[in-house]
């Protein structure tokens, strides 16, 4: 499981873990039923406090992304797929917000931005 932590980022570490696990689920790199590393394991791998990992897992569980099966570990929930849809939108929305803010600062209108998006999309399809 590829998770990278940056203490220099202003985002609290447990939220960095939450976001990245959601991203892995939404992008399909983690599938429903996949087992996650134990709290201890992930804490040692990431070199962060185990309580921080436990807190991230609890949050992901309360949001329905993960489930704990007693005695066997933590897994990506089966309800993962419908939730992933919402999650995908949420991840994209965050990126779009950044893009919109930058465009506004540069004085680029929404229409121009949409045109640019279409153009980039076309470029990408060519490749």
């Amino acid at each position: 499981m590829r998770i990278r932590i940056s203490p220099r980022d202003g985002v609290p570490i447990y939220l960095q873990i939450v976001k990245q696990v959601k991203y892995l689920v939404a992008s399909g790199l983690l599938a429903p039923g996949d087992q996650l590393p134990t709290v201890r394991r992930l804490a040692s791998d990431l070199l962060v406090n185990p309580n921080t990992v436990a807190r991230a897992y609890r949050r992901l569980e309360s949001e329905g992304v993960l489930v704990t099966r007693r005695g066997s570990g933590v897994f990506v929930s089966n309800a993962g797929s419908p939730l992933a849809g919402i999650q995908k939108k949420k991840i994209l929305s965050e990126r779009i917000d950044v893009l919109l803010a930058e465009a506004r600062q540069m004085g680029i209108t929404l229409d121009e931005l949409v045109r640019l998006l279409r153009k980039r999309d076309k470029n990408m399809k060519k490749k």
């Binding site: 932590i5 203490p7 220099r8 202003g10 985002v11 609290p12 570490i13 709290v39 201890r40 804490a43 040692s44 070199l47 962060v48 406090n49 185990p50 309580n51």
Partner: protein, 296 residues
């Protein structure tokens, strides 16, 4: 309620005319990683020496596991794993001799674990301590501090002057120690991103005085960086309550403040500023602002 492994109350320590510790009170509950940060000479080592019973509390009190480390050294030290910056190990010994020697002091010494650590750290049992590199000495010191699975791991600037590989092993030792139920880590460091990674609780010490001692979450929540945009350059540099540092000129100013963010935003609005950005500072930014930015 969780018991405190470390309890320091109103501890003051003077060396001739210098006040090394000034009325310091801290508590470290069982099962946490407690990070102590401060500049060189701030009093971190003096505090740790009190915890080890190497210095007697003249004013105030020090309790470790509820015991006075000066009155009951075996009761305290048998449960503490200690590693210091200078890693004062007996130079003339070989690695295996150091292991055998240390084992004699600790009934809980786990030979299997010690051997596992020795292999992980790639220490040659026949190597003489004095011939080890800086990093290898740190590894040897860490090995003998960990191999009896102490209830309290006490590290004084453990990462100081070490390369990233050894620093990683030290952080991993910290994480593993608290991952074991009920064990506690107390460590001092000036590497704030390491402290931020692994700590539950952070204490900042400056010129012998405690600047703050809180959970890391509370520390982060209690500070904000605001980027302010004014319609026109203000006549005087802007000032907010709880401000610790300020940079900027003209219309745009960057302020680091402590205290309730909602109130700070209200105060900024009252100055006529628009808040362009609000971020939670890193521990390092908070530390620098707290230590240097007391001029407001």
């Amino acid at each position: 309620m969780r018991e405190n492994v470390i309890e320091v109350r109103d501890l003051t320590r003077r060396f001739r005319t210098v006040t090394a510790l000034d009325d310091v009170t801290i508590e470290a509950p069982r099962g946490v990683v407690f990070g102590l940060v401060g500049e060189n000479g701030a009093g971190k080592t003096t505090l740790i020496k009190h915890l080890l019973g190497l210095l007697r509390a003249k004013t105030g009190s020090v309790r470790v596991f509820g015991l006075d480390p000066v009155q009951d050294p075996p009761g305290v030290l048998s449960r503490v794993g200690y590693l210091s910056e200078d890693r004062d190990l007996p130079d003339w010994m070989r690695v295996w001799e150091l292991m055998r020697y240390t084992r004699a002091f600790y009934p809980d010494w786990d030979e299997g674990y010690a051997e596992e650590l020795r292999k992980t750290f790639q220490l040659d049992p026949e190597a003489k301590i004095k011939e080890l590199s800086r990093g290898q000495k740190a590894h040897a010191g860490l090995l003998v501090a960990l191999a009896y699975r102490p209830d309290l791991l006490l590290l004084d600037e453990p990462s100081s002057g070490l390369d990233p590989v050894v620093r990683r092993d030290i952080l991993e030792a910290i994480v593993r120690t608290v991952a074991d139920e009920g064990r506690t880590v107390f460590f001092s460091s000036h590497l704030l991103d390491e402290v931020e990674r692994v700590s539950d609780h952070v204490a900042m010490i400056h010129k012998g005085s405690l600047v703050l001692s809180q959970s890391l979450d509370a520390v982060k929540e209690g500070h904000r960086i605001f980027v302010l945009d004014f319609p026109e350059p203000p006549a005087e540099p802007p000032r907010l309550p709880g401000m610790l540092s300020r940079k900027g000129e003209g219309r745009e100013w960057v302020l680091l403040c402590r205290g309730d963010p909602v109130e700070r935003k209200r105060a900024a609005a009252a100055l006529g500023a628009r808040i362009v950005e609000e971020t939670i500072p890193t521990l390092e930014e908070i530390f620098v602002a707290r230590i240097r930015g007391s001029g407001f």
